[in-house]
C-alpha cells in the first residue's frame, strides 16, 4: 500500500501517549517499513492521516553513537538501558527546493516494540543538530 506515494509494509500501531511536539493531541500512529529501503520507517497519524513523517534508524548516522538518551526518557516507554526491542530513529526533513536531506538528532523518536509505545524526546546536548545534513554522513563513509 502507499502512504504519500511511499510503498509500505508491516504496519504496526504504536501509542504515543504524549503525542509529538506540534501534534500533541495525536496519540495513535502507525509505524511501517518502507518497501525496498531497510533503514527507513514511515510514521503516520491514525487521527490525521496527512501527518506523515519519514524516520531513519539511528545507526545510519555515524555521530549518533555518542548520543545519550536519559533514563527518564526511556521510562516514558517503559524500558531501561540495554533493553532489547527498542528502536531509535531520527525524523528526516527533505527540502525539495534545495535537494537537502537532514536528520533531527536533537529530538529522536524512541519505540518500545514489545509494548507498542513511542515517545519523542528532546535531548539536552546543544551540539546535536536539529538539521544534521546527511551528506556529512556520506563524507564519513
Amino acid at each position: 500500500m502507499l502512504i504519500q506515494n511511499i510503498q509500505i509494509s508491516d504496519k504496526t500501531l504504536i501509542n504515543f501517549n504524549d503525542g509529538l511536539p506540534g501534534f500533541e493531541k495525536y496519540s495513535q500512529f502507525n509505524l511501517a517499513n518502507v518497501k525496498g529501503y531497510p533503514y527507513f520507517k514511515v510514521l503516520q497519524s491514525v487521527d490525521e492521516p496527512n501527518v506523515v513523517l519519514l524516520l531513519l534508524e539511528k545507526e545510519c548516522v555515524e555521530i549518533s553513537k555518542n548520543i545519550h538518551v536519559p533514563r527518564t526518557a526511556l521510562k516514558k516507554i517503559n524500558v531501561d538501558y540495554n533493553d532489547p526491542d527498542v528502536g531509535y530513529y531520527f525524523i528526516l526533513f527533505y527540502d525539495k527546493e534545495l535537494s537537502t536531506l537532514t536528520a533531527n538528532l536533537r529530538a529522536p523518536i524512541l519505540i518500545n516494540y514489545n509494548d507498542a509505545l513511542g515517545y519523542q524526546t528532546i535531548l539536552d546536548d546543544e551540539n546535536l543538530s536539529i538539521h544534521y545534513p546527511l551528506n556529512v554522513f556520506k563524507a564519513e563513509k
Binding site: 504519500q4 506515494n5 506540534g22 506523515v52 525539495k96 536539529i130 538539521h131
Partner: protein
C-alpha cells in the same frame, strides 16, 4: 495566565505533584528549581517550540516521493 510575584526562597505548587522553587534572582536572570514526577517532561520553551516547528516542517507530502530521496539510500550502507 496566572501571574504570581515571588522572591527567592518562595515556592509555587502546581497540581498535586509539581513544586516550583524560586532559588535566586540575579542580573535579570532567575534560577528556578522544579520538582515534578519523572513522567512529566520539562523543557525550555524556546527549544520545545523549535522541535514543534521542525516536526511540522518535516511532514511528508504527496509532492515528495521516496524516489526523490533515492540517491541518498544508495549511500546508506551499514
Amino acid at each position: 495566565m496566572l501571574v504570581l510575584t515571588r522572591k527567592p526562597g518562595d515556592k509555587i505548587r502546581i497540581g498535586n505533584n509539581i513544586l516550583l522553587t524560586v532559588i535566586s534572582s540575579n542580573f535579570g536572570q532567575i534560577k528556578i528549581g522544579i520538582d515534578a514526577p519523572q513522567d512529566i517532561h520539562i523543557y525550555r520553551e524556546e527549544l520545545y517550540a523549535k522541535i514543534q516547528a521542525q516536526n511540522k516542517s518535516s511532514l511528508v507530502t504527496d509532492s515528495i516521493s521516496i524516489t526523490d530521496i533515492k540517491g541518498w539510500f544508495d549511500k546508506m550502507d551499514k
